[in-house]
Symmetry: C2
Subunit: 346 residues, 2 copies
């Protein structure tokens, strides 16, 4: 397995990302080559500083970095030698099997779409976020790649989410729901009501509409929405969890009696913290592309990077892109037969 | 102050709602008349059972109840003698100053819109939800009345939310943000990008776009969105809070040591539970109507009903509808002058 890591563009500099790579190389024997993409001198000095030497490491120089303040497409046009583009090109040229980048989300989506193109039958990539719930974990697709979607895109989110949930997270028959403002079939906006018909017509474990109350209630493993809604939901949940836990911490340390109580009960708190820890996932895959691309958190530290590398290599191993191509083709066939989409001559 | 309460349509029957009314009558001296709207025999026997007799109580008989399974408009057409319609008519006929109903949300919105009409300059009512955050509380408008909105509707949500936050929650200059997929000015979908221009052109404490991460971060007091997104966010947050607290509870009681710790630290947990308690608000006002309508939670128990009555009477006292009319008129004037909306001749 050949992995490329864009070591630039994270919040904490390239050293932290390289720490993650070192952890991954120690724990993941399947990695045969590891490309570090970014400024050669910075990478070299980080490696020297860590006294790390591994024959699997290759440095691919990229002189520029797409900054968080850059506009995606315009930035990519201006910074042709940026690490994101160089990383994506390793995938395109079949020199790497997967790419992990903690950089600019919009830039990564744009670069991947332009250089790799989408899978046959898929129009646009989607970001998949894995969210832990008390009794299961669900994937939210799209978590922010496509702000304006058409109904067929939501169907593809449903299919890609199902494949990921089954192949990577191990749910045999992942239940799929469209995120809406109520569970009744007639609830929704113009987009979701149309997507509902498409999801119902194909081979999915489709439970219909789900609402906010269902997310953490073990009702579905795949939550389908457009990237506008998905991004809002993902960030709301992240911020709420963080806010509630830090609030709990401040209340628990406000007097000695509570401190003692918190000390005795710390096992419970650690258990929860571990479950909701974003580093356990480390990143969010971009699905629907001719290549395996994983967006790591911009704030990812070593353990998060290691986990992102692990998840990316699992996606490669399970050949999820091939499975997605087949599932989308089957769905399109069904929809054409049911006259729900125009017939594809190809 | 004359209050009407639709005692039917809640999850727990009319007795619980009447318990809330009794609490309100004990604690709210400003209530001069209280209409109980619903099946006369049921109301009478609930009052007798509670041995409650108060000269302020008036029973208004309504023989039908709009069920949760009824479609709003169709249901209202079929059930002309339902409690929601009878309650709204008390407002329309100026026999009551405010109506509280734990019944069918869509039905309440439809009945109010049809019978009361919107305030001058406002096209549609919006539901406002108050959400507690660690360092402030924010209002989410619209929380589910309008699934499909136009940009001007979002502007009205911003104005109505600001008025409510100022007059009822006491924020002198409530900060307003449009809920989007990023904080940059160019982030958003077609709807929010247009609404951004409108909000920027009028007299609001407008901070621009906010994302999910900002909600619990003391960045705004008014979060503007369409009813589809608002409903999803509200329910997601409610369900997540509930899930996390019950998870915490089960972890904290899983062994004797943790139980002891939880006992010592219970003050901290109660503090948080109190702050996130939905009963403290009891309901969500419908804004933009010729009349004060408050949607109570369907599952509202006595304390929630009492609080809903208290908030509804505060809205009456502060004449927030008059303030909304004036603010909307000023905004429309500004927008016409800036040629952002067509000139109103009226």
């Amino acid at each position: 397995m050949r992995i490329a890591v864009d070591v630039m563009g994270g919040d904490h500099g390239c050293g932290v990302v390289i720490d993650g790579v070192i952890l991954a190389l120690k724990h993941n024997a399947k990695v045969s080559e590891l490309y570090l993409v970014g400024r050669q001198d910075e990478i070299q000095s980080a490696l020297t500083e860590r006294r790390f030497d591994d024959s699997r490491i290759r440095i691919v120089h990229a002189s520029e970095v797409l900054a968080m303040t850059d506009k995606p497409v315009e930035g990519l046009r201006r910074k042709k030698d940026c690490s994101i583009l160089r990383g994506v090109e390793l995938l395109r040229d079949h020199r790497a099997d997967a790419l992990i980048s903690p950089g600019h989300t919009g830039g990564l989506v744009a670069a991947s779409t332009i250089r790799l193109r989408c899978l046959p039958g898929v129009d646009r990539p989607a970001i998949l976020a894995v969210i832990p719930a008390p009794k299961n974990e669900f994937v939210l697709v799209d978590a922010g790649a496509n702000v304006e979607c058409r109904p067929i895109h939501l169907l593809h989110h449903a299919i890609m989410g199902s494949v990921y949930s089954r192949e990577i997270l191990g749910y045999k028959k992942p239940r799929v729901g469209i995120l809406s403002n109520g569970t009744e079939d007639n609830k929704g906006n113009a987009l979701t009501l149309e997507a509902f018909k498409l999801c119902k017509a194909v081979d999915l474990e489709f439970v219909g509409n789900v609402e906010g109350h269902d997310l953490f209630n073990n009702r579905v493993e795949v939550v389908v929405c457009d990237g506008f809604v998905g991004n809002i939901v993902l960030k709301t949940v992240e911020s709420f969890a963080k806010g509630l836990l830090s609030w709990l911490k401040s209340e628990l340390t406000s007097n000695p009696k509570r401190k003692l109580g918190a000390f005795l009960a710390r096992g419970a708190l650690l258990e929860i913290k571990k479950r909701v820890d974003p580093d356990a996932y480390g990143g969010a895959p971009l699905l629907g592309l001719n290549g395996n691309v994983m967006k790591a958190h911009a704030s990812a530290r070593d353990r998060a990077i290691m986990n992102a590398i692990r998840l990316a290599s699992e996606a490669v191993q399970h050949q999820i892109n091939q499975t997605i191509i087949e599932a989308v083709a089957r769905a399109n066939e069904r929809l054409s037969a049911a006259k729900l989409i125009p017939h594809h001559s190809e």
